[in-house]
Symmetry: C2
Subunit: 348 residues, 2 copies
């Protein structure tokens, strides 16, 4: 089989959604696979990471990275395999991580290799799905957000929302490893049971259990208040935690998935209880994982060791087929995924 005979199926952004994205906001295209030029590399996409941040990339306007342009292939991080190389940096057969986008193949010109963050990954350190989870962007987000911004002390109470999700599972387990108490917030009894029984959190609050479930759960499980809150969701849950802060608490603002599909580009619902920051001399701070890129290797090595010695577990929710990209992405926002959501594009 020559490269020229390969067809690249792609998912492109057809129009910017108001509210939740549906299949109508995407279009599917095909094109021939190009040979890499001098210094370039061709990667077959194996798995794509589906992340809440993608919803933000679909909106117009300035954010921490530029939006995906209309008609462009949707931006996505993923794991792939090198199938042609004209650079000594990569050999055919190498497993790589980088911005591969929602497609089956990506050809990189030399200047694009660095821009896409293309790096070799060692499958001895973790599986391909773990490289998109604990060892990938969500894991790095949890690691640096918790340790650098949240900075929990031993014995302090760390609360994390989206506890069964990609970032949340890392945050809670890492909090435990570092000697803190970990209290999760997740949707549904099954996720909560897994977070406590498998991941070893001290408690998990099911936010779907009733209108006062979070408030009452925090009161029960955080009797001395919340020292660190790692916020992935925003909205009412953020307000409930603000009402339970300990003195000098730190809130890590990592995301606000409950607010990403607001219609008409309405801003997020603001945290009504933010003056609790004043009463408790507390701090709310935003973080973007890319700022820590030069420290990823050390963090990955540490996390890989935890995976190997069993102190950290991971769970991925794998959906198969690039054609299912639109529906798979919406599962993040309904909370239907259980674990880090991954789209398998080709068998490894």
């Amino acid at each position: 089989m020559t490269l020229a005979s390969l067809v690249n199926h792609q998912v492109r952004l057809a129009q910017r959604p108001e509210g939740m994205a549906t299949r109508d906001h995407w279009k599917f295209t095909t094109e021939a696979v190009a040979e890499p030029g001098e210094g370039g590399v061709l990667v077959q996409v194996l798995m794509l990471s589906l992340d809440p941040a993608m919803r933000g990339w679909m909106n117009e306007g300035k954010s921490y990275i530029p939006p995906v342009e209309i008609d462009a292939v949707m931006r996505a991080g993923g794991i792939g395999r090198v199938i042609a190389s004209r650079t000594p940096a990569f050999a055919v057969g190498d497993t790589v991580y980088g911005t591969l986008d929602a497609q089956e193949y990506k050809v990189f010109a030399p200047q694009d290799i660095r821009r896409a963050g293309l790096v070799k990954v060692d499958l001895a350190m973790g599986s391909a799905t773990q490289w998109l989870n604990v060892l990938g962007m969500p894991g790095m987000t949890g690691y640096f957000g918790l340790l650098d911004i949240g900075a929990p002390q031993p014995g302090q109470t760390v609360v994390v929302s989206g506890a069964a999700g990609a970032v949340g599972q890392t945050v809670g387990q890492l909090a435990k490893i570092k000697g803190s108490r970990a209290v999760g917030i997740a949707g549904g009894a099954a996720k909560c049971a897994w977070v406590v029984n498998e991941l070893g959190f001290d408690a998990c609050i099911d936010y779907k259990a009733g209108p006062n479930a979070v408030r009452e759960g925090l009161k029960e499980h955080c009797p001395k208040g919340v020292d660190v809150y790692f916020d992935n969701v925003g909205g009412d849950i953020l307000d409930a935690v603000l009402a339970r802060l300990a003195m000098k608490a730190r809130i890590v603002i990592c995301g606000a998935i409950s607010q990403y599909n607001n219609r008409n580009s309405a801003p997020a619902a603001g945290p009504k209880n933010y003056l609790s920051l004043l009463v408790h001399r507390a701090r709310m701070e935003g973080m973007v994982v890319f700022d820590y890129a030069d420290r990823y290797p050390q963090a990955i090595a540490e996390m890989s060791a935890y995976l190997k010695n069993g102190r950290m577990k991971s769970r991925e929710d794998v959906v198969q087929g690039l054609e299912n990209f639109p529906e798979a992405l919406t599962r993040l926002f309904s909370g239907a995924n259980f674990g880090k959501l991954v789209l398998e594009v080709a068998r490894a």
Copy 2:
């Protein structure tokens, strides 16, 4: 004149207000002035500090200090003169600062002296009104909030709301002294002119000049974004500043006067643009001045020197007569005061 012949007029909290406090929420009482016991002291109240925080003290429920009880004399900091003393710590004629409350005389038992923070003040370091302003709680709030929490670097842009008020005038002038740019936000052309022409701020935005005045003013006067925002007001102005943050910005949450009179104890309007903290890796942190009490003397000495060498100016808005306490307090919330609001209870 014997002490026994003195009558102490007092203002007590009659009922907790919903929304703005009116005269109906207060009652006026009189009682005889008691002699101080062994180790105690009797102080005649000269001036009281009227502060936005007082509105919070009138509400039920936990905050950074307990609420004022119904029928209690309203809590207020003030300047007074010792008129009888049975402790070597104070002599008759000493000028003192402390929690004197809304009344004409306060007798302190020994254990109350420390609780009320009663200290001698040196009128050579600043006038009595300055001791309630730059050298008092508002000045200390501005000093530690700006320098410890905001931590502006030379050349960075500091924005402060309530710029003509007690805290705001200190924050902006101190920012200039430390080499930063200072941009104020105040209500009305007269206040803005004073802030720029007298206090030396680089610019001042009149938030009453139109619905987009703050947004456009920030764009014009903070072309590189806002590095430090010292927030005294909350509400729409906080949102407008959030939309103009520089990377790694710090927001000092000192108060939210726009939200203190919300009806039915409704929480503050939350900052809708809080996700700007994420985009800009920025921080929002609450502060309460009492935490810095052990560092007041050094800060007061520094500020007194600035007053003397003319690098810092102060303006106080003095209302006369304890009987005018209710109406004077409401001036804070309409923005009718121009400078630090002080109630003169007796001539010094």
